[in-house]
């Protein structure tokens, strides 16, 4: 978590590292970029400070439970176990099979949704850095429109991200064409 835009008040450094590691298992870096490169942790931390402070408690308790469950099953904290063991911890959370944390599956689903938002959402919210999520799946962003219907062929347009405030039509046209 190194982005200056993030205040990081609601997510302590250790928990931010857990979010980073878990997101990297949900959407891993392979031969192509993943959650880490997209800046998911920055997205989550801005979401918690700017939009949904009420979720900070779930994140705090969830990260603690990740550590506890990792220790219970593998003898070490979540950040210190190998990726395959991290996957096993995530699988237990997804199934709601964590003995001392009732919100396990709720936390998993929240983290999964936020991870995907941090990869595929608008860059203005702190994730999808350089639109890498959109480039990865082949979404050309928010084009003003499409003069062609691209029937059964790839769209060859540079992706466009629109920042607030929404630009006037002529500004936007200049950007996308």
């Amino acid at each position: 978590m190194s982005e200056k835009t993030s205040k990081g008040i609601t997510l302590i450094r250790h928990h931010a590292a857990i979010v980073e590691a878990a997101a990297a298992r949900i959407f891993p870096t392979t031969s192509t970029p993943g959650a880490t490169e997209a800046g998911v942790t920055n997205y989550v931390s801005r979401l918690l400070t700017e939009a949904y402070p009420s979720l900070a408690g779930l994140y705090r308790n969830g990260c603690r439970a990740f550590d506890r469950h990792a220790k219970r099953r593998f003898g070490l904290g979540f950040l210190r176990i190998p990726e395959s063991n991290q996957d096993a911890v995530l699988t237990d959370f997804e199934a709601g099979q964590v003995p001392d944390f009732k919100q396990a599956s709720e936390f998993f689903e929240t983290l999964r949704s936020h991870t995907m938002e941090g990869i595929l959402g608008e860059p203005a919210y702190g994730g999808n850095r350089d639109m890498i999520g959109w480039k990865l799946v082949g979404f050309p962003g928010h084009q003003f429109g499409y003069s062609d219907s691209y029937i059964n062929r790839p769209v060859d347009l540079e992706p466009v991200a629109v920042d607030r405030p929404y630009p006037k039509e002529e500004d936007w046209r200049g950007k996308s064409r």
Binding site: R25, P28, T30, T32, E117, G121, V137, F139, S149, Y150
Partner: protein, 560 residues
């Protein structure tokens, strides 16, 4: 106490816009009360999927006005936040997909054509718990008003392309929207299978348009669709979408007879000793209580709000206009049943507009033989989409991973290579599906939340199974490599709860949307539908609004 007026309209969405224009044009003094704001370009024109899809806050007030919802009596309620009953001038028309098909003549006669005729018996349908009725009006009664809606608001379509449609005096004002890969695949596959797909009439302009004479000349000219692909849940940045702030609202304001007041939250319909209404009470933007007198009151909000207001008003527990006890009774919603196809060999680019495209009525209403099928009525079936990656990343075949390396590989591979065939299945009115007042939860004004109790029942489940298989057959015919169907538990496109009918014991309003018990009170919207059909409600709601306005204008008794 505000100055008395002729007409007070509660809710300035699809209904409020049309009725305000019609009544103000006739020289009546109209006050339009809207709980939300008039959205500025900066508010609605963002193509921002985090805001519109993930966070569902096109407008901030939605967050403060959830509904409480539960599957059946005796179960726990939960809060639901949704943009569907939109809180802004224009209401849901700001964020709709524009699906603008008229109902079929048969849709107005469900009791006669399905129960009385013996259809239900031949089908072997179990209708226990359902309360099925005919409409007090027919397709022919609404035909001229459908035309007004299509020509004033702007609808693109091809009149002759649906062989099941009712007769019409005039075609659509604009040709259909441009085809996309998915409409092409759907059109070709259905043709090969012997079905009758048609270009979905849409409240989206395919070309620049201004209504010609004899329609209202004050409605501004608008440009055609640019196919950005983001209609559903988004505002339209080029104003090609048929939204009332781009059409009837400016025309209504131009009369000088409409006083449009935003951020005003109505909490009661007031009544006098004579049993008539004499206006409404509302909280103004500063939270102060204002009483607005009017000769006629029109409730034009989303059905939760119309029902809630009736229940909050009048004397005693029963509420207003409720001698039948049917206010809030038998609400309906379409099930969201989707068949998805993933393609190895075809690039779909589902993010390119139009959002809708083609539908077919072969399995809708009484257009097919129900013998032995175990259900009555049916569904329209068509291509649908919504294409931003945020909307597609949860569309995963059963059994496939939802995260991890394989998930990433599949999402990367199939995002541009998938589309849905969606069903709009008619849900029958069931006695257990109701809206009442939540006894515990209140909104920020201290008013009880509407409590929605809703589940789908046996006829719906049988229908989904049968038509779902047909959808899968079509999807396979398009050449998809992986095909599956997923029914959602959540309803969409709500109707019912303020039923219209001729008998005051069996309905709340008459065919003009006029309350049986309170002659100067009108409830206009999908709430009055006795049956919900396999189509979106907007054209019919709009036609009812034009018709009710004409009735009010011509009534000396109401306005004298």
């Amino acid at each position: 106490m505000a100055n008395p007026v002729d007409v007070c309209i509660v809710g300035m969405g699809a209904v409020g816009g049309i009725m305000a224009k019609e009544l103000a044009t006739a020289g009546l003094k109209v006050v339009g009360l809207e709980r939300g704001p008039m959205l500025e370009f900066e508010n609605y024109a963002y193509k921002d999927s985090i805001r519109a899809i993930s966070r569902r806050d096109l407008e901030e007030r939605v967050k403060h006005e959830p509904i409480s919802i539960r599957p059946k009596k005796g179960t726990k309620t939960r809060l639901q936040y949704t943009t569907s009953p939109s809180n802004n001038v224009g209401g849901g028309l700001m964020i709709w997909t524009g699906s603008a098909t008229r109902f079929l003549p048969d849709d107005f006669k469900v009791y006669t054509n399905d129960v009385q005729s013996g259809n239900a018996k031949r089908a072997g349908a179990d209708l226990k718990g359902y309360n099925i009725a005919d409409w007090p009006i027919t397709y022919d009664d609404l035909e001229p008003y459908y035309e007004r809606f299509e020509w004033e608001m702007g609808v693109s379509g091809k009149a002759e392309s649906n062989p099941f449609a009712g007769p019409r005096k005039k075609g659509y004002p604009l040709p259909p929207l441009r085809p996309s890969t998915r409409t092409k695949l759907f059109g070709e596959a259905t043709l090969r299978l012997g079905y009758h797909a048609y270009e979905t009439p849409q409240g989206i302009l395919s070309q620049a348009y201004k209504p010609p004479e004899p329609y209202d000349q004050r409605i501004p000219e608008r440009r055609g669709c640019v196919y950005c692909g983001q209609c559903n849940n988004y505002g339209c940045h080029v104003q090609a979408k048929t939204s009332s702030p781009f059409t009837v609202i400016p025309a209504a304001l131009e009369t000088g007879n409409l006083d449009l007041r935003t951020r005003c939250k109505v909490f009661r319909v007031n009544t006098g000793h004579d049993g008539r209404t004499n206006g409404v009470s509302y909280f103004d933007p500063d939270g102060k209580i204002v009483e607005q007198s009017a000769k006629v009151v029109i409730l034009g909000g989303f059905l939760y709000e119309n029902i809630r207001l009736l229940l909050l008003s009048g004397e005693g527990k029963k509420g207003l206009a409720n001698s039948s006890g049917l206010v809030g009774h038998a609400i309906m919603a379409h099930g969201d049943v989707r068949t998805t196809g993933l393609f190895d060999d075809t690039i779909i680019n589902g993010f390119i507009g139009p959002n809708g495209g083609m539908r077919m009525d072969d399995f809708n209403a009484n257009n097919f033989d129900h013998t032995g099928l175990g259900f009555i009525r049916g569904a329209t079936v068509g291509t649908s989409g919504g294409g931003t990656p945020i909307e597609r990343c949860d569309v995963i075949p059963p059994g496939w991973p939802r995260w991890g390396e394989k998930y990433k590989e599949n999402l990367t591979r199939y995002y541009t290579r998938c589309f849905d065939i969606g069903m709009h299945p008619e849900t029958l009115p069931h006695k257990d599906n109701v809206v009442d007042l939540d006894p515990l939860r209140k909104d920020e004004w201290g008013i009880p939340l509407p409590r929605v109790t809703f589940s789908f029942h046996q006829n719906e489940h049988q229908m989904w199974r049968y038509i779902g298989e047909k959808c899968e057959g079509i999807m396979r015919e398009t050449g998809a490599s992986h095909v599956w169907t997923k029914p959602s538990k959540r309803g969409s496109r709500w109707a019912g709860g303020v039923r219209m009918g001729d008998d005051p014991k069996k309905s709340v309003v008459n065919g003009y949307c006029q309350a049986h018990d309170v002659e100067n009170l009108f409830v206009v919207g999908s709430a009055v539908f006795p049956s919900m059909t396999g189509y979106a409600a907007t054209p019919t709601v709009s036609a009812l609004a034009y018709r009710a306005a004409e009735y009010i204008k011509s009534s000396d008794k109401l306005l004298g």
